[in-house]
């Protein structure tokens, strides 16, 4: 599992390098464009993800103690929080589309090049992250089902652990995406 997480690190790491280079070459446009994003929504989503990381981490303690019901509740809360994150993201993107900011839109193409690059990166990186949230939800649902059926239990919980590790990675990526896109303006 950790080996897979390293490959993910390289994937997002590459995108962060692209971000760094573009930010370096278009500092003013990046400042301007970052002001367009809603810091409040970003902060809410940060809190949601941090809390979901907490609940999934606690679910491992619960399963180690053999408290099946509590583990199910905690994984369930994690999945609900993941869904809440996506709903927020949906409205955020929806609003961007409404004001005409989406890849290739006339509104966006009329902007300076740095702004186009900024929003290009914004959509690619938060989009890829959202895809990871969806995959994480599927993995957690699988773990939920495993706990329910007793396949994941106090003596064998590697699958829940792997799911949790993946979920924490999603959280860590957001920990970096949030300040770089929402706060630096």
């Amino acid at each position: 599992m950790w080996l897979f997480l390293f490959t993910e690190l390289i994937l997002f790491g590459g995108l962060f390098i692209v971000y760094a280079v573009y930010r370096f070459s278009h500092p003013d446009a990046f400042h301007l464009a970052a002001g367009e994003l809603d810091t409040f929504v970003g902060t809410i989503n940060t809190i949601i993800l941090l809390t979901s990381s907490l609940t999934v981490a606690m679910s491992i303690t619960a399963i180690q103690e053999g408290r099946k019901g509590f583990a199910l509740t905690l994984v369930g809360i994690t999945i609900v929080l993941a869904l809440a994150f996506l709903v927020n993201k949906y409205f955020e993107w929806g609003h961007k589309f409404e004001v005409g900011i989406y890849p290739g839109s006339a509104e966006l193409l009329a902007q300076p090049q740095g702004v186009i690059l900024y929003f290009g990166l914004y959509f690619v990186m938060t989009g890829l992250h959202a895809l990871h949230v969806v995959i994480g939800m599927v993995v957690l649902l699988y773990a939920f089902e495993g706990i329910r059926r007793g396949r994941i239990n106090a003596s064998s919980y590697v699958r829940l652990e792997s799911g949790a590790l993946y979920w924490h990675l999603v959280d860590i990526i957001w920990i970096f995406l949030f300040p770089l896109f929402y706060l630096l303006h």
Binding site: F6, A164, F176
Partner: protein, 101 residues
């Protein structure tokens, strides 16, 4: 001697208490509040440095406690460090290449 053996075994299946997790979570929320409030202040070049430093501290907390890296054995932690250092080298080299174009 026996005591040492026992602690090794405890490491293999380390159970982290709910309280400990909750404390880390509080820490993460506090750091989030800090980074959001700092964003409003004009710090010039320091803005990006403080924001990234806070993000690094948060990631460290998640990696070491939530992801149990602190309780894994040394070889394992070394792998993680190597992966992150490799990424940093890529970043630095890209910037050297870019700065001298």
């Amino acid at each position: 001697m026996d005591d040492h053996k026992h602690s090794d075994q405890a490491n293999a299946t380390h159970v982290v208490s709910y309280r400990h997790y909750a404390l880390i979570w509080f820490g993460l929320l506090a750091l989030t509040a800090l980074t959001v409030s700092l964003a409003g202040i004009e710090l010039g070049r320091w803005v990006i440095i403080t924001a990234l430093a806070i993000a690094c501290i948060k990631s460290y907390l998640v990696l070491s406690i939530f992801m149990h890296l602190r309780y894994e054995d040394r070889v394992f932690r070394l792998f993680g460090t190597v992966a992150i250092v490799t990424l940093l080298i890529f970043l630095v080299m890209t910037f050297f290449d870019y700065a001298f174009h």
